[in-house]
Symmetry: C2
Subunit: 265 residues, 2 copies
C-alpha cells in the first residue's frame, strides 16, 4: 500500500485527491492545504517555491512514496526544483492538462485560465511548446479572483450572482476561437457548472490525467511503508472550518480528522 | 423651510443627500431607500417605473415641496413619467451629470459607468445628444456588480481585494481615450477612492450639481408646510442594519431614526 503526499494552497487539490482516491482506493494519503498562505496566485515564483520546498520536506519526513503537486501555481513555480531536491516521484498538474488538451482540441486553438502567477510563469506555453512545438495557438488568461472566491466558499446560489458576472468578465470572447479550455487551477473544477455557462465547448480538468500519471509512476515502485492504514489525513496550515465545509460538500462525506499544523519552522 | 423627498434603491442616494444637506441645511428631508427591491439595475424600465411611481406617491402624500430621484437607474427609467404624473418639481441626476461633464471634458471623449439598466435605457446618450448634439463621443459601460457590492457593504479594506480587481475589469482601457468619467450611479462615489486607482483623469460625481438644481428649482416656490423641524427621516423598505452601517460611515454621524416601511400596498 502506498503513502501519497498531496498538496495545494487550499481546497483546489481536492479535485485531484478525488481522482487519486478513485484510482488508488487503498492508499494512505496525506493532504496538505497551505491555506494560511493562500492565494499562491498573487505571490512570486520564488516565494511559492520556498513554500513548496517546505511542504515537500514535511511530506518526505513522513516517508511518502510520491508527492502530487495538486496546484497549478505550485507546479508552475516549483516542479523542476522539487524534482531535483527530493528523491521521490513528483507529479505536477500542468503536463497532464496539456496532454489531455492536445488530444481534445480539433482546431489547435486552446485557452487556459489560471492564477496570475501561473500565467506570468508561462508554464503552460512552455509545456505546449515542449510537447507540440509551435503549431498550437495558446490564449492565457489570469483570473485573480476565482481562487480566493472558491477558498472563501463562493460556490453556492447566493454568491453565484457575483461568480457569474466575474466569470463573464474573465471568459468574455474566449470561445470565439478556442475549442478547448483548460482549467489551469485545481480550484476551478469546483465551479465547473458556472464556467460551463460561459464556455460551452470542451473543458479540460487535468485531475484525472494527473491521477493516472501518479499510478503510472508508482507501477514499478515497492511501497516504502508496511502496516499502514488506508485513510486520508487532512492537514491545514490555516483555518479549519471553511476548509471542512467545502471539502465535505465536494467529497460528499463527513470529514472529522482535520489537523491544523504550523510547518513554518 | 422646505420638505424634500429623496429616494434611491439603497445607500447610493446618500451621496446626493449629503450635498442637499450642505446647500439646504435647514430642510426637512425624507430619505427613502427602496432596498428591498435593490438592485434596480437588473430590472426592466417598466418595473423600475412602477416602483418609482409608488415611491413618488408615498412622498407627495407627505406633502413634499420637491422630489429628488437620487438614483441614475430610476432617473433613466422614470424621470419623464414622474414629471408628468406629479405636481412638484422632480429633480433627476442624469442631466446635472451630463452638464458637469460637458464643462469638464477638453477632448469631448466622455465615458459613463452605471448599472446595466441605466446603460440599456440609453439615457446618457440621449441627454448628451440633447445638450451637445453629436460632437461628443460617449462610451457607456454597464457594471452589474458595483451597486450590489456597495449595498452589501464592500467598502472596507478586506473587500477591496475583490473590489479592486472587479473595477480593473470594468474600467480596463477606458482612460486610453476618455478624459472624463461620469459616475453614472449614485452608489459609485462611495468607492471613488478605489475607482481613482483605475481612472486618473477627471471623475464627475453629479451629486453637487443635482443639489444645485434642486436649490434653483425651489427658488421661487413658497414652502408648503409650516412648523416643521429640520431633520432627515430615513425610511427603508428592506433591511435596516447594513443600511445604517454604511450611512453612518458615509455621513459620519450616528443615525438612530431609521424606520422600516412596506409601501407596496
Amino acid at each position: 500500500m502506498y503513502k501519497i503526499g498531496v498538496f495545494d494552497s487550499g481546497v483546489g487539490g481536492l479535485t485531484v485527491l478525488k481522482e487519486i482516491e478513485a484510482l488508488l482506493p487503498n492508499s494512505h494519503i496525506i493532504y496538505f492545504a497551505d491555506n494560511v498562505n493562500s492565494p499562491y496566485g498573487d505571490k512570486t515564483g520564488d516565494e511559492i517555491t520556498k513554500l513548496c520546498i517546505r511542504i515537500a520536506y514535511f511530506l518526505t519526513m513522513r516517508n511518502v512514496d510520491a508527492i502530487v503537486i495538486a496546484c497549478n501555481t505550485a507546479t508552475a513555480a516549483a516542479f523542476e526544483t522539487l524534482k531535483k531536491k527530493f528523491n521521490v516521484p513528483i507529479i505536477g498538474v500542468i503536463e497532464p492538462g496539456v496532454r489531455t488538451a492536445l488530444k481534445a482540441s480539433k482546431n489547435g486553438d486552446i485557452s487556459v485560465i489560471g492564477t496570475l502567477a501561473t500565467m506570468n510563469l508561462n508554464a503552460y506555453k512552455k509545456t505546449f511548446f515542449a510537447l507540440a512545438g509551435e503549431k498550437i495557438k495558446i490564449t492565457q488568461r489570469g483570473c485573480k479572483l476565482l481562487c480566493p472566491m472558491i477558498e472563501n466558499g463562493w460556490i453556492d446560489k447566493y454568491t453565484s450572482y457575483f461568480t457569474d458576472e466575474i466569470l463573464r468578465l474573465y471568459l468574455e470572447g474566449i470561445s470565439e476561437n478556442s475549442d478547448t479550455l483548460i482549467l489551469g487551477c485545481t480550484h476551478y473544477p469546483l465551479i465547473k457548472d458556472d464556467i460551463r455557462k460561459f464556455f460551452t465547448k470542451t473543458i479540460i480538468d487535468p485531475a484525472h490525467e494527473t491521477a493516472l500519471e501518479l499510478l503510472h509512476s508508482l507501477k514499478n515502485t515497492e511501497p516504502k511503508n508496511k502496516n499502514i492504514k488506508p485513510l486520508v489525513q487532512f492537514i491545514v496550515s490555516g483555518e479549519i472550518n471553511n476548509f471542512r465545509k467545502i471539502a465535505e460538500k465536494f467529497l460528499k462525506r463527513d470529514i472529522s480528522n482535520i489537523i491544523k499544523m504550523d510547518i513554518s519552522y
